[in-house]
């Protein structure tokens, strides 16, 4: 059965920023999407285990035509500090499909806010 942990103050979690918190021996990254939705994700990249708190929160780059880059979905993508792999903060999916037979999904934790505090289930 999932256990709920109080891990941060709601006011400390801001859109476009990463707040790392310890949960047992693991680190969880907290952030908010542009709409204000709270996100809690694993602090380790599913690719090679990089510490994601050194990565960045960004948007999804789109290219409607050659030479033209448009940023969409601002604050909904986390990029790994090592290889720059992109992960969709709404789903945990990588922006580019994983190599055949390899798991490449960023773990999402269930996160709730209550009375100004953030709770994560594990």
């Amino acid at each position: 059965m999932a256990k709920e942990h109080e891990i941060a103050a709601s006011a400390d979690i801001r859109t476009g920023e990463m707040t790392p918190v310890r949960l047992g021996r693991s680190t969880i990254i907290l952030t908010r999407l542009s709409c204000g939705t709270l996100r809690a994700v694993s602090g380790r990249c599913p690719h090679m285990g990089a510490n994601l708190q050194f990565g960045c929160i960004t948007g999804m780059a789109q290219g409607p035509e050659y030479g033209k880059i448009e940023m969409t979905r601002e604050n909904e993508v986390l990029r790994c500090p090592w290889h720059g792999f992109e992960f969709d903060l709404r789903t945990g999916d990588p922006a580019v499909p994983a190599p055949k037979g390899q798991a490449m999904k960023l773990r999402l934790y269930e996160a709730k806010e209550r009375d100004g505090r953030v709770y994560v289930s594990s």
Binding site: Q62, G63, P64, E65, Y66, I69, H83, E86, V96, P99
Partner: protein, 357 residues
């Protein structure tokens, strides 16, 4: 079993063979010997000076200009169902006098249509262009695409601006609107990463590297995305390098997609869907090794057979594509994949025979 040879080099005896076909003022230039044609910047070391030594005219001189001889030596000898003529006279190699080069491409195409394509329905043709003048090349593609035996545009491997550069887009647009394949073939001027080296053996070993560069340029500059219907074939570059190139590009795409977001698919997916590689020159792999390479490539639909007739590194179909391969795979390599690429309507004799039993 049907057999499709995707790389057959027709040619001419000499540059003056283009005189009847080329426009003024270049007709006089060629007739007067003002230009001597391309020559390789090295000496060939094979017994036939770059060609199979047994491909000779009656007087003993090398021949690539006789359709009857080619039909006898190749089409009839190997029971070839379709032979795609790819030339080896590539006006793109002239890095100046662009209009002259474009005119030579047109003249060569007319010569091929009159002398070669009309001589046998088994021949399919490649439209030669001067890629350095892309708009003129596009007009030439539009002109020659009307010929029912022309199946592709030939782009020789260049040593300067690679084909992914936007400069060449009019050529790809013309190929796409005319429903033609785009083929790439190395040249006497193709360079490896450090030039040609010091020896012919070095230069010949570097050819796949020159070709890999073009594949990388095409895919990572969005040519596969911008021209969604276009299909591509790489000739005479071998194929065992492809797994590495695809893995590398896929990895780079995962980490660097943000720079080139107009690329919508994994590079390997683009290649699997719309790239073919001709097998020649095969590298004397065992059947097990060949199966492993194909497994690593990721699809059985990518390789097509080629002999490279009349060049010295000719591949005999039975020796190069082992009979010990699974029959279905062997049929794909020897004809089905190429038939699919070019839209050749070739009855499946094997299945027809099976159905009749």
């Amino acid at each position: 079993m049907p057999l499709i040879d995707t790389d057959v080099h027709e040619g001419f005896a000499g540059i003056k063979d283009l005189v009847p076909y080329i426009k003024a003022p270049y007709k006089d230039w060629l007739a007067q010997g003002a230009w001597r044609g391309f020559s390789q910047p090295f000496a060939y070391t094979s017994p036939g000076n770059g060609n199979r030594a047994d491909v000779q005219n009656e007087d003993g001189s090398a021949s690539v200009s006789d359709p009857a001889m080619l039909k006898r030596d190749l089409l009839d000898e190997y029971n070839v169902t379709k032979a795609v003529l790819t030339g080896y006279f590539y006006p793109t190699g002239l890095k100046m006098q662009y209009d002259f080069a474009s005119a030579m491409a047109s003249a060569y195409n007319d010569m091929v249509a009159e002398k070669w394509l009309s001589s046998d329905p088994r021949f399919a043709g490649s439209i030669q262009v001067n890629a350095r003048a892309p708009e003129a090349a596009a007009r030439e593609i539009d002109r020659m695409a009307a010929h029912p035996q022309m199946v592709q545009v030939m782009l020789p491997i260049v040593d300067d601006i690679a084909y992914g550069h936007p400069y060449y887009r009019p050529i790809f647009a013309a190929a796409e609107r005319n429903d033609l394949v785009v083929a790439f073939h190395h040249t006497v001027f193709a360079q490896g990463p450090y030039g040609m080296g010091l020896h012919y053996i070095e230069r010949h070993s570097l050819i796949p590297l020159a070709i890999q560069g073009q594949v990388i340029s095409l895919i990572l500059n969005g040519v596969f995305d911008e021209f969604e219907k276009l299909r591509f074939i790489i000739l005479e570059g071998g194929f065992s390098w492809l797994p590495h190139t695809l893995w590398r590009m896929d990895r780079e795409y995962r980490q660097g997609r943000v720079e080139v977001p107009w690329i919508k698919k994994l590079p390997s997916q683009h290649a699997h869907e719309r790239l073919k590689l001709a097998t020649q020159p095969t590298e004397d792999m065992t059947t097990d090794q060949l199966l492993k390479v194909i497994d690593l490539i990721g699809t059985e639909d990518l390789l097509v057979f080629a002999t490279d007739y009349p060049h010295f590194d000719f591949d005999d179909p039975d020796a190069a594509i082992p009979r010990s391969l699974p029959d279905g795979l062997r049929q794909k390599i020897l004809w089905k994949n190429a038939a699919d690429l070019y839209g050749f309507d070739i009855p499946d004799q094997h299945n027809r025979a099976t159905a009749a039993e």
